[in-house]
């Protein structure tokens, strides 16, 4: 010991994982405002750089092991509502949660929201997220007018669907690998109230669900079904179908109508960090929960007034709910298969149910048309998302088997959820991958933008 330390500069290295808390990696993590990103990029070494939002993608999409990870600071009050058309320009680091608190009281709603409002605008674009309105209004990228993009060479460019369509669409769903999204102008939806008018129906099985959604979805702006993935036999696919639209002013009670755009969602509770390492998810607890969920739903109820939070973001009421899966974490398996592949969907649900993998409610959604982005996930068909504990016995074999079914049916997997699939599966599921790579290679020839996901799935390098 010679009393002085080596002159190695201290870098803020720390482990990062996705929402599933499965495969972490260690990176240099820097929080900074938009105008400092360019300078920070010069520090990026051979492992490159990546912008991370709120870390709600389930796998390794927002990790960059050994490299640089940037978190953009931005405040919702910097959002600018455009005077001429209902659109808003927002810093990329702002979350949908923060944005809603600003725009809902002014009579606007985000064009697309996923099942959590804790995602950033940058992340929403990079993952081209979808929501309950996909069947009519498409994914997030369909509602973006312009993106300010910091490119690998340090230049900043405003890309739009008309000015630089290839780069624009490569950035939509491009997992942050075309450049740093600094801000974006997105079209917003005028609303009269901050409430939802909701129809809820219990559906006895999968066949009835396909029929109900195919026949009735187009009458609703929003539609999603929660399936009990443990139901078997004649109950296979029993579900609660929830559909609705923003409530009109005349639908509200007089008391609520005084402040029709009131909006202030809050968390009821948060899961503490001290959950037992094995988690509290097991077959018994999950079966009880799923049974309760199905039973508590009304057989059929129409025009019920609900809050935005309870309709769109029920899980957000519990903070850090991913901790209930314990130290091993969880995966969310999400895929889409085209219309006409209902049998494949049935087989997947059967296998999940038969596997006994403890799984909370799965979400089934009917997608509408896809968009022009080569790596955008949604495509016309059925999508299923299901949470499974990462430590389940035989999970690898189950999921790799399901992958083959999905790919053989012409389906694919969602980057924002993926934590297990392979470069081969991505190549099959995304036939326009090379087109995307060509655009990326042009704007980032030296591979500055990288992530654990991009290396794992062969998107870069």
């Amino acid at each position: 010991m010679n009393g002085h330390t080596d002159a190695v500069p201290m870098k803020p290295r720390r482990p990062l994982s996705g929402w599933g808390r499965t495969n972490p990696s260690v990176a240099d993590v820097v929080e900074l405002p938009n105008h400092e990103v360019r300078a920070a990029l010069k520090e990026a070494g051979p492992r490159g750089a990546l912008v991370r939002g709120l870390g709600r993608s389930y796998g390794d999409a927002a990790q960059n092991g050994g490299g640089l990870v940037l978190r953009l600071l931005g405040a919702a009050h910097q959002a600018v509502l455009q005077p001429d058309r209902p659109s808003v320009t927002v810093p990329a680091g702002v979350s949908i949660d923060e944005l809603l608190r600003v725009i809902v009281p002014r009579g606007f709603f985000v064009p697309v929201t996923p099942g959590t409002r804790f995602v950033t605008i940058g992340g929403a674009i990079a993952s081209d997220i979808h929501g309950k309105n996909h069947h009519l209004e498409g994914s997030f990228g369909n509602h973006v007018d312009a993106i300010t993009l910091l490119l690998a060479d340090g230049s900043t460019e405003v890309v739009t669907p008309t000015d630089r369509p290839e780069l624009f669409w490569a950035t939509i769903g491009g997992m942050g690998l075309t450049g740093a999204i600094l801000d974006a102008t997105i079209r917003v939806l005028p609303i009269e109230t901050s409430r939802m008018a909701v129809d809820t129906t219990r559906v006895p099985d999968l066949e009835a669900l396909f029929t109900a959604m195919a026949e009735g979805d187009d009458d609703y702006r929003y539609s999603v079904a929660w399936i009990d993935p443990q139901a078997r036999g004649r109950h296979l696919g029993r579900s609660v179908l929830s559909r609705g639209d923003h409530a009109r002013l005349d639908r509200l009670d007089p008391a609520d109508a005084i402040d029709p755009l009131a909006y202030g969602p809050h968390q009821l509770a948060s899961i503490p960090p001290l959950v037992p390492p094995m988690g509290v998810i097991n077959h018994a607890t999950v079966a009880a929960f799923n049974e309760m969920w199905f039973r508590k739903a009304p057989r059929h109820r129409t025009d019920e007034v609900q809050s935005i939070a309870s309709f769109f973001h029920p899980l957000d009421m519990v903070g850090a709910w991913n901790r209930i899966y314990g130290r091993r974490g969880m995966l969310q398996y999400q895929f889409v298969v085209p219309f006409g592949q209902e049998d494949t969907m049935r087989t997947v649900v059967e296998r999940l149910s038969a596997s006994g993998t403890a799984s909370f409610l799965a979400v089934l959604k009917r997608f509408g048309a896809g968009n022009s982005a080569p790596l955008s996930f949604p495509a016309p068909g059925w999508t299923l998302a299901v949470d499974v504990p990462a430590g389940s016995r035989g999970l690898g074999e189950l999921l790799h088997g399901l992958d083959r079914l999905v790919l053989d049916a012409g389906g694919r997997h969602y980057f924002a959820k993926d934590a297990h699939t392979t470069a081969h599966a991505i190549r099959r599921g995304y036939p326009r991958l090379d087109e995307w790579k060509a655009v990326r290679d042009e704007v980032d020839p030296h591979g500055v933008w990288q992530s654990d996901l991009s290396r794992r799935l062969g998107l870069t390098g």
Binding site: T22, S25, G59, G65, H420
Partner: protein, 253 residues
């Protein structure tokens, strides 16, 4: 990058013809695996092992590796990373068993075992650890042995090197944890393999496949030490605390 199921994409086996090492590789091969690199002294034997592993979608490369040539280890790892990208899992499985009785008296033979088993293991592992620190993730499986838990008079050189690398790997692993790198120390008992062919089996003898199963389970569970078979943990807990006069009289071969 390991996926969320703990399935490695790229594995490096140092000691590429080791029965236990190859069994661990086979146990961890999944559709997620893309590359296996077998680093071994006997390249021809390595090629035969590679032929047994190869299948559609899996690249198996064989590279020359000499455990005793410690000054080549860093370059070897650099080359592997340059050719195949991140190393998700490295299995350190090379060692010389030596002929117990002669190593006690043969200085040259003892030196060779000490050089390969200890110095070579340390240099190769540090080279791997450096690469993994740079990539911010990775796993190292260190093949230790119960022989290092309490060294027997019958083969003190081998046992001594295993005691050394066991301690080395634990200390290294504790320091690497915060760097995203996980080290698992595996302590098998007597394993029926080509290394022990022709020797009398000790109690609780096991097979490379069983050791591989225990290793895979330990990796998935995030353990830092596993024993194969698991019962040996308790056997050696007792043996470790057996008074010397009793220990020396035990018929341990």
């Amino acid at each position: 990058m390991d996926n969320a199921l703990g399935e490695p994409q790229t594995m490096l086996l140092l000691g590429g013809t080791s029965d236990i090492g190859l069994a661990i590789v086979r146990e961890l091969l999944t559709p997620a695996a893309r590359t296996v690199v077998l680093a071994c002294r006997d390249v021809d034997k390595g090629e035969r092992a590679a032929a047994g592993l190869r299948h559609d979608g899996l690249t198996v490369a064989v590279v020359a590796f000499d455990g005793a040539a410690t000054d080549t280890h860093e370059q070897l790892i650099t080359d592997v990373v340059a050719a195949h990208g991140d190393i998700d899992l490295a299995i350190v499985a090379f060692a010389l068993l030596g002929d117990g009785p002669s190593t006690i008296t043969d200085v040259a033979a003892a030196a060779e075992i000490a050089e390969v088993n200890f110095t070579g293991t340390v240099t190769a592992t540090i080279a791997v650890a450096n690469a993994m620190r740079t990539q911010g993730h990775g796993g190292i499986v260190m093949l230790s042995s119960v022989a290092g838990e309490r060294v027997r008079s019958a083969n003190p050189v081998y046992g001594g090197t295993k005691a050394g690398i066991d301690g080395f790997a634990q200390g290294l692993g504790d320091g690497l944890a915060s760097q995203g790198v996980h080290v698992l120390v595996v302590r098998p008992g007597f394993v029926h393999s080509s290394m022990t062919a022709g020797r009398a089996a000790a109690p609780f003898a096991t097979t490379p496949e069983k050791v591989a199963e225990v290793t895979a389970k330990g990796l998935r569970a995030g353990r830092r030490t596993v024993w194969a078979p698991g019962l040996l943990r308790y056997v050696f807990m007792a043996l470790r605390h057996t008074p010397g006069p009793v220990w020396r009289r035990l018929p341990l071969g």
